[in-house]
Symmetry: C2
Subunit: 416 residues, 2 copies
Amino acid sequence: MKKIDTEIISVGTELLLGHVTNTDARDVSELLSRIGVNVRWHTVVGDNPGRLRESVEIARGRADLIVTTGGLGPTCDDLTKTVLAEAFGLPLVRDEAEYAGLYDFIQLGRIFTPNNYAQADLPAGCTVFHNDWGTAPGCAFEAQGKIVIMMPGPPCECVPMFRKYAIPYLRKLSDETIVSHSLRIFGIGESTVDQIFRDEMNAMTNPSMAPYAKECDCLLQVTAKARSEAEAEAMIRPVMDHAREKLGDAVYGEDVETLEEAVMQLLKAKPLTFAAAESCTGGDIARRFTDLPGASAFFLGGVVSYTNGVKAGVLGIDPALIEEKGAVSFEVAKEMAERVRAITGADLGLGVTGLAGPDGDGVHEVGTVFVSMASAEKTWVRELHLGAFRTRSFIRRMAGNHAFDMLRRYLTGLEV
Amino acid sequence: MKKIDTEIISVGTELLLGHVTNTDARDVSELLSRIGVNVRWHTVVGDNPGRLRESVEIARGRADLIVTTGGLGPTCDDLTKTVLAEAFGLPLVRDEAEYAGLYDFIQLGRIFTPNNYAQADLPAGCTVFHNDWGTAPGCAFEAQGKIVIMMPGPPCECVPMFRKYAIPYLRKLSDETIVSHSLRIFGIGESTVDQIFRDEMNAMTNPSMAPYAKECDCLLQVTAKARSEAEAEAMIRPVMDHAREKLGDAVYGEDVETLEEAVMQLLKAKPLTFAAAESCTGGDIARRFTDLPGASAFFLGGVVSYTNGVKAGVLGIDPALIEEKGAVSFEVAKEMAERVRAITGADLGLGVTGLAGPDGDGVHEVGTVFVSMASAEKTWVRELHLGAFRTRSFIRRMAGNHAFDMLRRYLTGLEV
């Protein structure tokens, strides 16, 4: 694909009031970066035709591809579509297939005003992106040397539609294909990854390689440009293998987003069940894993033992041990993993106890966390000192990552 | 405050790659909207001096206030500060207090390069915002008829700094004060709230009133402009009282963000303990409440009974009942709340069982959820049909909202 400088224009007053986060711009950017399209600007404007028109003029002057999100559909009078069609001199014409589809929706009992049918009016000659997740269709067209793609605003419509329709549309515009894969890394920071590969990265052009920091882990992205997908894949593979070798078992997955997702993949290949006893993570390990559809095949459940009473009464940990060693201790963490495994009948038990702050316990520094895992044969405990300057949410997330990392290492036969 | 059209420019290539969400723009927008400042544009550019310079020129041409986030500090060579100072013709001069502060940091063992000291170089004559949460200071200045405010990028620095320093700085620029309060509403949608108040809202100018949709609830914001805060508060109060009266017990709090926060406030006033037995929410109720510091005074813990085995083995629900009525049923929900209350010794027990999708159970439609609450005297169960077209995350969040809503109603003496 040629160099395509891209601007994403998100339309919605709720974004400017801070009532909604612009996750569309983030997710569309990530999808575009994976096919080698450079996003140079994000712009947000409210539901205001004048300001949208101005923003479109600015974008037209500097970008090759303009992606809009939001401002489609009846509640905003199809603002974006009207302004963009006008800016590129295209009339809006009724798409009969979309019109029929909207008509069918009425039969399902949704209330439609005449205004709703205007969603089926689209720029003449555009490629229609049917919305399988809502009512307002998206579309794409080329005009005046620019590419324009319009997507609905709700993230649960915008993102799957962009993946399903807009990415293949963009791929077709070029005889070059860009393919990108990432290695997801836990236990080594982005700056260390950068140091390991710096010389190589500077010497590489195609494929290219770059590390990126995420909240509690990082990733290494490898991207290749070629005439076919197969050729690009063939160029990427040896680089990925080489990087995997250098990074060793800090790599927890390829093209995954989270440690729990990597664990889910491993469990699908090697079915085992697990349960979790959580203190400072307060249910976040259970929540994260059960966010994934299909979790019930592997996750039996857990106990949120936020107080010593629950640690004793529900998990069955000896109160004298808690009294002697303290709730935040190696010994109690060990018991938590073993007891939750025993009472749920799971193959593996996880345990987490620690101080997420802001208040301490007078004994340990905030950020002290013990994470444990019990199998039939053995129990492992990691002692973490995540730093008293860290936020509560960072400490909770990082503690959960360590728990999933222990599972991951166990399932892949690594030393836990 | 006069009408201040505002543009937020966020600087960071990681935003354009989709690796990071622009929560700074959202949070700064929300803080500004509360003091009546209109945010008209968000712009994101990468770590690129040329494109930042262009964006600053555009912003200067249309906005009265430019807020930048990110691009301060050593990793990006203080890009934003350099470009903004140049654009407004101000030299950078060393701030001795900030320099001394950075020097002290070295004593704490952090590694500094000479480049780090450049963080203490700030536009001549600016107001320095000391960074109590990191190293790079922020600042504000007025030049060429514009106001410029620069903030560091990490959200845990940007947001508290903006609240502590930038908001008072902006308030001081005006002899008018804007005060805003919100009523948070659960159980009535934004469009209904809009209908209830539409005529009044159209007739109002100062104070003004507007409803906004959030993910699983909505809010009504009341804003007044006056010469003093006391005067603005006095103007707002009768409008808030009137709105509260019209909305009745759908109002769950004033100036709170979530139902769990409202529950926390109620529990602080009337201490009771609770526990939760969660099936389809998978620990999210526990996670949400324990996200709040101080949760341990009221939340004893819970059981994530993701499988029937845990419902029986850990909660002690009769397997025959689960067999007869099904895991997703009124009866099992009732037992879950009662049993978790019994085994933890809490004053109140919550229970949630349902289908979050995407897979169904062959009996109920996805989105069917039973939410329950047990006290010593009585157990209540709500049967919800949240809609099969909803996402898994929506169903889980909404189910949790209902559980917190039942707690909230109980604690305020309303019918549950």
